[in-house]
Amino acid sequence: MIKDLVCALDYSACAEWALALFVVAFATITYGTLKLSQNASDRFASIPLTDHVEDPR
């Protein structure tokens, strides 16, 4: 069935599909990243600086 489905598709559109997929994914990630608070960002970035467990985690 998948073979029939793929054969019926216009594969020349793959590049455009891929680009659209990428743009949506990239925009979502960028948006989500910008929503990260400065406090959380600073806390996450400092994780490697100590080998010991520091609260709050």
């Binding site: 590049a15 891929a18 990239f26 990243t33 910008l34 970035a45 490697p48």
Partner: protein, 789 residues
Amino acid sequence: MATVTSTDAPQGGVVEGHGATNAGRMEEFSYDDSIVRMFATATIVWAIVATLAGLLVAVLLILPGLAGGSQYFSFARLRPLHTNAAIFAFAGNAIFAAVYYSTQRLCKARMWSDALSRMHFWGWQLIIVLAAITLPLGITQSKEYAELQWPIDILIAVVWLFIFGGNFLMTLIHRRERHMYVALWFYIATIVTVALLHVFNNLVVPIGWFASIPVYAGVQDAFMQWWYGHNAVAFFLTTPFLGLMYYFLPKAAERPVFSYRLSIIHFWSLVFIYIWAGPHHLHYTSLPEWASTLGMLFSLMLWMPSWGGMINGLLTLRGAWHKVAADPVLKFFVVGVTFYGMSTFEGPMLSVKAINAFTHYTDWTIAHVHSGALGWNGFMAFGMLYWMLPRIFQTKIWSDKLVSLHFWIGTLGILLYIIPIYAAGLMQGWMWRAMDDTGHLMYPDFVETTQSIVPLWWLRVVGGLLYVSGTLMLGVNALMTWMNRPSEYEVPVISAPRLSKEYNVTEPKAKSHLEGAPVLDLSKKLDIFGRMGWHRSWERLPVKFTVLTTLAVIVATLFEAIPTFLIRTNVPTIATVKPYTPLELAGRHIFVSEGCYNCHSQMIRPMVSETKRYGEYSKPGESIYDRPFQWGSRRIGPDLAREGGKQSSFWHWTHFENPENVSPGSVMPSYEHLLTEDLKYDAIAPHVQAAAYLGAEYSEADLNDTANVAMAQAERIAAEIVEQGGPAKTYEKQAVALIAYLQRIGIDLFAEETPAEAVPAETAPEGEAAPTDEPAEVAMNHANGSQID
């Protein structure tokens, strides 16, 4: 924090119970630095071996006679040994040292299983040793960076995915730090993607323990190989080293990464984009145009996130540049990250079709690869080791001056390596395509180009020698540091409770800002969704995060792979292209075993300069029986796609005996052993059966009386050799099988037309005319676009 002492024995029982989940109960644990010491030592040993092997093959390229005619030390057999040693032994062990050191500290937990850690170490070293034995013996799949045969491939899959991956994932699950730091994301992407790439590129039909043929053929095999090949660079030599950068650079600089937000964007961009880029290795080949364009497009997109990562790394040193002047560890990191930026600019640039048309098959690619491998991977690994050695051996580094000397001599070595090889690539590109006023090639003799770049190859040897001497300095420094270690290592013991199952400390259950406002429920839900709390929760859930990363990679792969495999017009059939005869299959196996693809391509691109030099450009339908494909990736020697019938059989015999006899100035070594060693006719049948199993059409005689069918063809070629003035009784020798193969390459396209064969109905999409109903020339027109240049 308490401290206990230890020898280098595993500390399997260190006061930690994995079963407990009671968040309030204090637990004591320690980090397993013993496994880090093991991988760090292996990294140094294999760095020396890999760079020495590189130096050896660089010399053998110029002085092929240095091998003394031994087939085990020819350039073509040792080059894969060098690349495998550099990638999987040196870089691989560096990755593992980094992962084992940083993961434990980022998770605030010991590795889940000491036993699995050690099985991983010894399993990986066994794989490397098996590679070192099998590759010089000519046991190879001939796929670049995936040369190892199927039994070793199975071992790799088990060690990588189940032992290493399993131990890593379980450590994440049992961690004590709520947030998974971004370095861990890069490690997760590495583990799942490399496993996928490895398994799907190595699907083969075994022919005994030491040979196999891939389930893919021709165009599809090439597509899979470079999907693997490019992403081996992406997910073995890039993402784990970025994880390393995001952990060790802040540690060495003693300041957090410049922008954590940028590191998140960097990660997801690479995961989404990298997997598409493989087809840029196949521009202007028989790969469908759309796939090639897609590869180029995504390669160009890679530039921005890569440079985002580079900038993030360099700006981590903001306010600490004074430390760089004094600290050689930071110097290694700065140069390493700079080479990352350079390589990730050059890579997208080389993927642009117009530029790739010039650089492909030339030494430019070799220079590009080495600026990444020596500069980025090498220097990041060295920086990590010099930072780590005093900590894991618990003493100060033996000689700071030697570290500095290593840095400067290594940097000089890289420059002295890549600059001449860039120049060699430019010279090859220009000389191969240079035309005179009458429209003829200015340098029709291939050897002329080779000879003109030999001085540049010598400069590369000098650069390589400097780089090798740097790795030897690292070895001496590490050995002396280890000798000054304390009699017993201190093992700090840390007390901390487990993580609670519920996470509601800083981010209580999401409530919409629109609560109470006169809006639809949908708006409230969208408001909560838009706050991206779901992404924050993914970042805390290792299994879900791993599944999502895997999905991102698989979806992108399927976008390219499904059309390539299932749409029939991608590989139009050519009526006159037939399967190889049994003797030709045996010869092809010798071609593969000797690693001829390391120097000779079999892919003529549709460019005037190529068609004038080599003949009609290659069509997709010509390689449908090529398992594995042999398109190659560089031209140290000329392309062989139309070699059939170009030279006499005796010419080939003489060429194998000593290439300089018929091609003065050639850098090809002697293959005299093919003239003296007997061909094992009884061993041909399994090759024919495997090809038939995968769809090649063979007669009853080919399948059941293989040895006699092959012998009959060998006798005909032996008779030709005698007629052309050569020796008698050559039909017993391996060279005759190889000659049979070489005389067959590329001639089917011009073969006399035979009555058209019906295309199996189940493979032809409805409404599409079967190309086999057309004359060969007409069918060919479907195969590719028009000639360029």
